[in-house]
């Protein structure tokens, strides 16, 4: 017998010693130790039995006759289920004897091994410190209670019921950013690496050895990453939650970090467990198997009688953690009456219904059977029940009376992901209220033109919807004619084939005299936009995995399938809330095996996981996650392809944050730096391939692209994420490139404007890059140094003159300053008095009145009427005619020819004269402008939009012309 048993035994007695104390109390344990530590392990079970009864009395949480749940963590809950569930099928699976021992073996619940204690040396002195007497009773009772509560709650509020407790379920669809693998627990700040990461052997124990135990992990473990620990526990049938509650069996931690979890645990008297302790437990499960076997039985049978009558009270579905007490009983009964009857029954049952798939067979028969969304079902029920009261009179708008009432809508729209029971709810509710449901779904053509929808309501021989509506008045005699309800299934599937379907549906709703239930998957679908206005919206949520597991458990029991709760929860999680799919999976697996374990489900669903939308963040989390090494290549491709543009950016942004698990033992950091360099190069490859894809449309390269831009970097650096900046949250950052790129784009545009102005000033002919790289520092100096050095007036004058010379506008001034700012460097304008700045602005604005603005928009030039007028006429005339686009085009073309001719002629003949004119005008500070727009660009005016622009350009003339006494519009 192993030491674990000794320890367990010891702990039991210890429990007794301080059963009334909620907090660990080492002292009493010390006294208990000497005499009991020598007891042979054989006594243990007996002892436990006694102790249980004793404790039962003392625990305020237990009703006097409640069984001690301590021993058994078996997941089966047959008797209870039989009573509480309408399900006719009774599950009575024979639970193999060996499980019992294992479970019994794990029972050293109260074991709290301090970090320094080694696995094999559980000496008394160590045990002195381990003393949490009250842990178990409290936990278990509270589990029972809260389980019941929860069941109720979840009935009522659908998915919301699970609240804080279920946080470890990491709903896959939960917001972006949190990977499902993280257990959903938001861990802010940095978690240290396990100090002995990867140095210990992780034991493999019996898959059910932790069944029924609920763990909370806190702080850094000794050798396991948090995720690894979670996986380990789950694999052995344990359950992980995010925060300590009364149900928690153990707080797994290697150091007391005095956090909220540990204080809460102390308050609740939850047992503490170290990682080594956990390993011990798991190892013990194997070692202890054989010996415990015999001992166990007597105890069980002894207890059986007392237990049997209590168990029915419980809701069985919760399975192991909660219902250990009753499960004890039932398991025992299985063992003792070696399941002949139940086996027989199972056979009979399966043969009986073999034709039915499980999804049909276990389709809810009454609304209460529906998993989750009970409040919605209730709402639907109310709506349907009151429909006739509300709309009976006319069948048409009585809405005016009660606009806000739920019944005010004549139709209802149920939405939600597939497989969560929308259709079932609709049918059941109708059935319950005595409505005759007529279902029209995507298999029926529902187009407007094809009047099937109109005709097909009650089958091909029946009346149209409208007739049906009118029938209502005829069939007032309800005893004869059952009420009818129209269920329009899959309305978002009304596609090309059902042209006008939605519109027609709306029309039907308006005039209908029967209630209409529409069902869709995506209520935000574009197609349904108009429909939602006429419907009462009920959005079905995914049931929680606990709810699903509960129901799956029922089914499994009914089918005689042996599955534990954790496995079912895993299944529920994998199918992402799709009950139908879960049942199908279960059905399928039942064909090949009769005992399904957590591992089986994991393995199977790896390959047949439901397609779901993976957010890029989740994908990146998974690619970098601790499990990423086990992903298959195609899975990695799937992940990186979930958003082939965004995932590489996220990877690129975050890859340096990961401490590669490939380089754990790397003290100097060289190895990590090497990996980063390799990853960076690979990311660069991805970029190059991406160019090939986009530029040359080599889409066949997209796999290579995601390989090199996402998969390779992630594979090189997968590991624990760490933060690089103080105060950074330890999540993957959003790809910075997008933001920076758009800023770059903006700045380039600004720079281009500046460049344009400088070119326009004709003082400079440099390229844009040269401008930024070489000119800008000097420009900045010319613009800022005088402001600092000279007196205010002088400085302002100088700077404004300079700006005028180069046509630098105030916006350009800002651009120059902006582009010269570097993080961590002083602002180039520091040291300039605000008064000076203000004066500069003022002076510049004043100057703009008399300034020779070289940069402006189209200004009419009064002296040059002829040519422009002709052009303008040419532009405006055709565009008056909105439809005459062809006509327009020809005009445009002829105009273009025309213009090019005249242009050259004019330019040669008139050019010189004009030039002189212009110069004289310039001398006077008059702005001279060209408008070539009309001349060469009539095509811009071809469309009405173009016309609008014409108008707006007219408006902008005023603006552009500001400061120019008279503009010059000239035709060259």
């Amino acid at each position: 017998m192993s030491q674990a048993d000794i320890r367990k035994w010891f702990m039991k007695s210890h429990d007794k010693a301080n059963a009334s104390k909620p907090a660990p109390a080492p002292a009493p344990a010390a006294s208990a130790l000497p005499k009991q530590s020598t007891d042979p392990p054989q006594q243990q079970n007996v002892h436990v039995g006694e102790e249980n009864s004793g404790r039962r009395k003392t625990s305020k949480y237990f009703p006097p006759n409640k069984p001690k749940p301590n021993e058994e963590k078996e997941t089966v809950q047959v008797p209870a289920k039989r009573k509480t569930r309408p399900d006719p099928v009774e599950s009575s699976r024979p639970s193999p004897a060996k499980k019992v021992q294992k479970v019994a073996d794990d029972d050293d619940d109260d074991d709290f091994v301090l970090p320094q204690s080694k696995k094999k040396e559980a000496t008394p002195s160590k045990k002195l410190k381990n003393a949490s007497g009250m842990g178990i009773p409290q936990n278990l009772t509270s589990a029972d209670e809260s389980d019941d509560d929860e069941t109720k709650a979840s009935r009522k509020s659908g998915g919301r019921g699970r609240g804080g407790r279920g946080s470890s379920s990491a709903a896959p669809a939960a917001g972006r950013g949190r990977g499902a693998g993280r257990g959903g627990f938001m861990n802010f700040g940095e978690r240290k690496d396990p100090p002995h990461k990867g140095e210990k052997d992780v034991p493999e124990g019996d898959p059910n050895c932790l069944a029924g135990l609920t763990f909370v992990i806190s702080g850094t473990l000794d050798s396991l990453e948090r995720e690894e620990a979670e996986d380990l526990i789950k694999r052995h049938g344990g359950r992980i939650t995010g925060s300590v509650s009364k149900k928690t069996s153990y707080l797994l931690c290697d150091e007391d970090i005095e956090g909220r979890k540990s204080s809460k645990a102390k308050e609740l008297g939850t047992a503490f467990l170290t990682e080594d302790g956990l390993f011990d437990k798991i190892r013990a499960s194997i070692r202890a198997e054989a010996p415990v076997k015999e001992e166990k039985k007597p105890v069980d049978s002894a207890r059986e009688s007392s237990l049997a009558n209590k168990s029915p009270k419980k809701v069985a579905l919760k399975g192991s953690p909660d219902c250990t007490s009753s499960s004890l009983a039932c398991r025992v009964s299985h063992k003792q009456s070696p399941s002949d009857a139940s086996l027989a029954r199972r056979k009979e049952q399966t043969t009986e219904h073999s034709a039915l798939t499980w999804t049909e067979k276990y389709r809810p028969k009454v609304p209460n059977d529906i998993i989750g969304n009970q409040s919605l079902v209730k709402q639907l029920h109310d709506w349907l029940a009151h429909w006739h009261e509300q709309f009976r009179d006319t069948g048409v708008k009585k809405k005016g009376n009660k606009p806000n009432n739920t019944g005010a809508k004549k139709a209802v729209l149920l939405s939600g992901t597939p497989g969560i029971g929308k259709t079932t709810s609709a049918k059941l509710v109708s059935q319950m209220l005595g409505f005759q449901a007529i279902e029209v779904n995507a298999s029926d053509s529902r187009g407007k033109a094809d009047s099937k929808i109109v005709k097909g309501i009650g089958g091909s021989n029946a009346n149209s919807v409208k007739e049906l509506v009118s029938n209502e008045s005829l069939s007032m005699d309800r005893s004869k004619h059952p009420k009818t309800v129209l269920i329009m299934d899959e309305v978002d599937g009304m596609s090309a084939g059902d042209r006008g379907g939605v519109a027609d549906l709306i029309a039907s709703i308006k005039s209908s005299k029967i209630p209409i239930i529409c069902i869709c998957n995506d209520r935000y679908s574009q197609k349904l936009k108009s429909l939602v206005n006429y419907c009462l919206l009920l959005s079905f949520r995914k049931p929680t995995k606990q709810q699903m597991a509960k129901r799956l458990k029922q089914v499994a029991n009914a089918e005689g399938l042996q599955v534990n709760e954790i496995a079912l929860e895993e299944l529920a999680e994998r199918v992402n809330g799709d009950m139908r799919m879960a049942l199908n999976q279960l059905h399928y697996m039942s064909l090949s095996m009769s005992v399904i374990k957590y591992e089986d489900i994991r393995q199977r669903l790896l390959s047949s996981a439901k397609d779901e939308d993976i957010s890029p963040f989740t994908a990146v989390d998974k690619l970098f996650g601790f499990n990423a090494g086990k992903l298959r290549m195609d899975e990695r491709f799937d992940l990186s392809m979930s958003d082939p543009d965004l995932v590489p950016l996220l990877i690129q942004e975050n890859y340096i944050n990961y401490r590669a698990s490939a380089a754990v033992k790397d003290d100097s950091g060289v190895e990590r730096m090497n990996l980063i360099a390799r990853a960076a190069e690979s990311i660069g490859n991805g970029d190059i391939i991406n160019v090939q894809i986009r530029k040359y449309r080599q889409w066949q390269l997209s796999q290579s692209c995601s390989l090199s831009s996402s998969i390779i970097p992630a594979a090189l650096l997968r590991g624990q994420r760490e933060t690089l900046e103080q105060g950074e949250r330890n999540f993957n950052r959003f790809g910075g490139w997008l933001g920076k790129n758009s800023t770059l784009g903006k700045n380039l545009r600004l720079l281009e404007d500046l460049h344009f102005h400088l070119l326009a000033s004709r003082e400079s002919s440099s390229g844009r890059e040269t401008l930024r790289v070489e000119y800008l520092p000097l420009l900045l100096k010319r613009l800022s140094v005088p402001l600092r050095k000279l007196s205010k007036d002088e400085a302002v004058q100088e700077v404004v003159e300079f700006m005028n010379t180069y046509s630098i506008s105030q916006d350009d001034y800002d651009t120059i300053v902006e582009l010269s700012k570097f993080q961590g460097h002083p602002n180039p304008l520091d040291g300039v008095q605000p008064a000076v700045k203000a004066a500069l602005t003022k002076a510049y604005k004043e100057g703009s009145k008399s300034r020779m603005v070289r940069v402006a928009e189209f200004v009419t030039f009064p002296g040059m009427k002829k040519a422009p007028k002709k052009r303008i006429a040419a532009i405006l005339e055709p565009s008056d005619d909105v439809t005459g686009e062809n006509n327009n085009d020809t005009l445009v073309l002829s105009e273009e020819e025309n213009s090019s001719d005249t242009e050259d002629l004019e330019s040669s003949a008139v050019g010189e004269k004009l030039q002189q004119e212009l110069q004289s005008l310039n001398k006077k500070g008059v702005q001279v402008q060209l408008d070539l727009k009309g001349a060469t660009n009539p095509s811009a005016k071809r469309t009405p939009a173009g016309r609008g622009k014409g108008a707006s350009s007219g408006a902008s003339e005023k603006k552009g012309g500001r400061g120019s006494g008279s503009g010059a519009k000239r035709k060259r």
Binding site: E681, E774, H825
Partner: protein, 389 residues
């Protein structure tokens, strides 16, 4: 006329963006000239005025004195006077009408198979020449090249008065043109050679395809020597009436890396900073250069992911401030080499070249810059540990 349907040139189309479209530029008022930057003020206006490449200028003058001129390809390092020569050359060919330029943002609508692409580009044009920078259009540069030339061919000047019967198309930064654009250029160059001449301008002729180079008269513009720069600086100093301490001009010339433009700009920067020059005055370097050297000292100080992250942010800062990534990388290498051990230099140069090449192949410069820094860090770290343990 068939081409009409394919391309329409629209001016002023994008007025909604609030940008100025068309400008005409009256000649300068004399009073303003004093405010100009020296670099522009003392730019040679004609081929005769050229101070630095007089022989080249004279050759060019002879070349165009005969009726025709071939396609030209100017190449040479920046700040050596290519642009100046080109402008002077155009002026030489067309006379003063070449000064009457307008700047516009033009939008091309190009039918590319199934879809229509809008391309916007700034052009600078007179009646006789158009200057543009087609590489700004990115991937679409080849459309620009094709369409602009066809358009010019269409609007062939009908000059009966003895003027040149061709237009000149000045393409800047040809080395940044995509390969496709260069290929499409080569055919159009021949096809429309009756209507237009191309003047291509680039830094390195190695990035211009052989086919194009062989169709052009290649004109190599060398970087001016230090003596020439000193001469130019002294000339400016004299004109501006400055007191140049002895050796000061030489000092600037030395720091300018044989770029005349840079030298003149730094002279003026010094002037703005502190006028009565002292011979040991600090010649300020560019703002971004300082920033790059900060990055380099960051890198040398510590090689860790944390530092890499910091460097990434700084690189972003540079990129966002519109510093071209190639220049950043070059500067980065330059600064690194200054601080490196001799035995690493070769390897680091190799990697810099490697990543620069990849940067040009790729699109997201930061990835490659970062990859270079990461590579350097990993090499340098390994080196440090090997050397000092």
């Amino acid at each position: 006329m068939k081409a009409e349907g394919r391309i329409r040139i629209e001016k002023g189309k994008a007025a909604g963006r609030g940008r100025e479209r068309v400008h005409d530029f009256p000649p300068l008022l004399p009073s303003e000239e004093s405010k100009m930057l020296w670099v522009d003020k003392y730019r040679p206006k004609t081929l005769d005025q050229a101070m630095v490449h007089q022989d080249t200028a004279q050759n060019l003058k002879k070349l165009v004195a005969e009726q025709d001129c071939p396609h030209l390809l100017f190449y040479g390092p920046s700040g050596s006077g290519k642009k100046t020569l080109i402008i002077a050359l155009i002026r030489q060919i067309f006379g003063p009408s070449a000064d009457k330029v307008k700047v516009e943002n033009r939008t091309w609508k190009v039918d590319a198979g199934s879809r229509t692409i809008d391309i916007e580009l700034t052009t600078l044009s007179s009646t006789n020449h158009i200057e543009l920078n087609p590489s700004d259009a990115g991937f679409q540069d080849r459309y620009i090249v094709q369409e602009i030339i066809k358009e010019m061919a269409k609007n062939r000047p009908i000059d009966t008065k003895g003027k040149k019967g061709y237009k000149i198309l000045v393409l800047n930064e040809v080395d940044k043109l995509s390969r496709e654009a260069q290929h499409s250029l080569r055919r159009t160059m021949e096809k429309y050679s009756a209507y237009c001449r191309l003047i291509l301008c680039c830094n390195s002729s190695s990035k211009v395809t052989e086919a194009i180079r062989s169709r052009c008269l290649n004109v190599r513009i060398n970087a001016p020597t230090d003596e020439q720069i000193v001469k130019a600086l002294e000339f400016i100093g004299k004109k501006e009436g400055l007191q140049l301490p002895s050796g000061f001009a030489a000092h600037i010339a030395e720091k300018s890396n044989r770029s005349l433009r840079r030298a003149i700009l730094s002279l003026e920067t010094c002037h703005v900073q502190q006028y009565p020059f002292t011979s040991n005055q600090i010649i300020p370097s560019m703002d971004w250069e300082e920033y790059v050297s900060e990055i380099v000292s960051d890198i040398m100080k510590e090689q860790s992911p944390k530092r890499l992250y910091l460097v990434r942010q700084k690189l972003y800062e540079l990129l966002v401030n519109c510093i071209p990534p190639e220049i950043i990388l070059k500067r980065l290498l330059y600064e690194l080499l200054k601080k490196l051990d001799a035995e690493l230099k070769h390897e680091v140069c190799h990697w810099a070249a490697y990543y620069e090449h990849r940067m040009r192949l790729g699109q997201k410069a930061i990835f490659h810059l970062e990859a270079f820094v990461a590579k350097f860090m990993s090499i340098y770290k390994a080196f440090l540990i090997a050397a000092f343990g």
